[in-house]
Symmetry: C2
Subunit: 247 residues, 2 copies
């Protein structure tokens, strides 16, 4: 039996992404990381720091995918509302997690700052912790929803700690072939090639580079031998048109 | 009467974004550009190149916002299905647009390539065109859904042509103040400050830079005088804590 298809959704929480102030890089990082574990990002949403948006999005996506990963909104300021939204989404209380609280109480900071920082110890009741390899407060998960930091380095430090803890399925591999040809010139043979290779998905990505047009063809699939076969067919097609494909 | 609030959703179409192969930059570009026109990106979705996902997403978002902007999937290959999905979303036929077809028939290319390229002339019946300042085939719009290319430079060339054609509302402006303080140290005074400035939204974005922790506080709002007032209060708060804020 082939390994199962395991899917995920990614929820990027933060007004700063929607305002255009900050370029999100977490989606790409998460997609690449979980992809290597056999978990496919099937959709992503960017939502503002508002409770209705976060609660509705998480509840819609968590029933549709094996995993949901959120980033952002777990700091200590008034605009960090992810933990309470996740609690609301699951209909559970927000509680102070003793492990996180103990960690924060050890910070070298004045008592009034510790009191405020303890906001980061609030998690939905029943949540498990996601170790933060960067050393700060951990993330948490409830059910299949994994709540990560928004700062990219901290997000990666949390996600990395999940490497051996999530259950992936078939891993999608990819092979890329690039040539300086126009998309319309290859569209028809490529369509026939795709029709003959139903178990490999071929994407076509045109580009402009140093004044020349070109296209990168990306074959994606779970079976290495089929990928190799398809990649060779793509190269033959391009060579047959007088192009010089590079992989 | 204050100017109205005009909102938008952004739909990024493309497996290459969800696979982690390609870093999307279109969301940020669109958000910044339309933001300056008084149109606020309120949510964004990244969806795969599949008809059910694109149709459902567009139909959900177009009734919720003044504008929807999509990027990607309007080339000439088999994985470019945006035009037919938009037609399906609106329940109209896909037709060859005479203006685009005439443009493509003028390409210096063999007849069989022209035939394939004419796929890019297919638009939903009743669609208007979005001029492509980069010189290639135009984008199109149906109702309040604006369909742009995925290649960032082409997307910008299309979006730019809309500058005088869309109707914006109140423009959100922002002021940023940065200081090397920890978020928990400012969280409580910042919460009070936010409570006293209901018409300005204050976001708090911690960062690590050259081994130091800091935070950027971003005040956003539509009234310049309130923004200035709030920014001054933020600076005073930080100075009062012994920090040296920079704007």
């Amino acid at each position: 039996m082939p390994p199962p298809i395991v899917t995920a959704a990614v929820v990027i929480i933060g007004n700063e992404i929607l305002s255009g102030r900050t370029q999100d890089t977490n989606l790409r990082d998460i997609a690449n990381t979980i992809g290597a574990w056999g978990i496919r990002a099937m959709e992503a949403r960017v939502v503002p720091d508002t409770e209705p948006a976060i609660v509705a999005t998480v509840n819609e996506l968590r029933v549709r995918h094996n995993y949901v990963f959120t980033t952002g909104g777990i700091g200590s300021t008034h605009d960090d509302i992810t933990a309470e939204c996740i609690a609301k989404a699951f209909g559970v209380n927000l509680i102070e997690h003793p492990t996180i609280a103990a960690l924060i109480r050890n910070y070298p900071a004045p008592p009034e700052v510790i009191t405020v920082a303890l906001r980061m110890a609030l998690v939905p009741e029943g949540a498990g912790l996601i170790e933060n390899l960067a050393g700060g407060p951990p993330g948490f998960y409830v059910g299949n929803v994994y709540v990560l930091a928004g700062i990219p380095s901290v997000m990666r430090a949390m996600l990395g700690s999940l490497a051996t803890k999530l259950t992936g399925g078939a891993v999608v591999q990819s092979r890329s072939v690039t040539a300086y040809v126009s998309e319309p010139a290859i569209a028809e043979p490529l369509r026939r090639l795709q029709a003959n290779c139903p178990n490999v998905e071929i994407g076509s990505y045109p580009f402009f580079k140093e004044g020349r047009i070109g296209v990168t063809l990306v074959a994606r699939g779970t079976e290495a031998n089929l990928l190799t076969e398809t990649t060779e067919k793509i190269k033959s097609m391009l060579v047959g048109m007088g192009a010089m494909p590079t992989e």
